[in-house]
Amino acid sequence: MFRQLLRNAKERLRLFLSECRRRARVLRERLRQQPDRTNPSSRFVPGFLHGYGAREARGFELLKEWLSPEQLAQYQARSYFDVTGCHSGKRYRISHGNSMNIHELDGAGRPRFGWCFAPKGYLVAGDVMLAQKIALETDERGALAVANKFSVPTGRRNTLFDC
C-alpha cells in the first residue's frame, strides 16, 4: 500500500517536472524571438530614450551655465540647489529630478511642503530643473499657480535635507 502511494507520487512529480521544463523552454524561446527588450526606442515615447545619455549631459551643461556660483557649488556637492522666490522671498530647494523635486523650506531650512510643476513635454532633468529655477526666480506666483502641492513626511529622517 505504502509502496503504491510512493510510486504514484514519484510518477506525478516526474510529470510535473517534465511540464515545468517544457514551459521554461517555450518561455525562453518566446523571449529570444522578441526584439531587444531594452531597445530605448520601444519604450514610452518612441525615440525619446534614443541618445538620452548625451541629451541628459547637454541638459546638465546648460543648467550649470545658468546656475549662480553658489547654486552650482551646492548642486555639485549635494545634488540640489536653493532658489529664492521673487515674490515672497521664500527659499525653495530644487533636487535632482524631473518631478516632485521642489521643496519649500522654513526658516530653519527644513522642508515645509513640496511643489510639483515642470515644463510641458518630455525634457531631460537638467532642462526641467533649469526651467523650475527660472520660474521661481522670475515668476514665483505664476509657477505656484499651476503647481500641485504635496506634503512632506516629517516622521522620518530625510538625509537629503541634512545641511
Binding site: 541629451r55 546648460l62 510641458k120 533649469l130
Partner: protein
C-alpha cells in the same frame, strides 16, 4: 554671434545668428514671436547672471533661453 536656445524633447536646439545682420535678426524675432506665442517662456541672463523673463524680443540679447509652458505635475 547671438544664440536662441530652445528646450525640447531632443534636448535643446540652438539657433545661432549674427545680430548685426538685419535678415538674421528679423528671423530671430520671428522665431521669438512664434515660440512665445506657442506658450514658451523666453529668459535672458543679466550681466550678474540673474535670469530675467522677456516678453518682447531683445535684439541685444546674446543668449535667449526658451522653455515650454509650465504644468502641474
Amino acid at each position: 554671434m547671438a544664440t536662441q536656445i530652445v528646450m525640447d524633447r531632443t534636448g535643446d536646439t540652438r539657433h545661432n545668428f549674427d545680430a548685426k545682420n538685419a535678415d538674421a535678426l528679423a528671423k530671430a524675432e520671428e522665431r521669438f514671436r512664434a515660440l512665445t506665442g506657442a506658450g514658451f517662456t523666453a529668459a535672458v541672463r543679466t550681466s550678474s547672471g540673474e535670469p530675467v523673463v522677456k516678453r518682447t524680443f531683445d535684439p541685444n540679447a546674446e543668449e535667449t533661453l526658451f522653455f515650454p509652458r509650465l504644468v502641474g505635475g
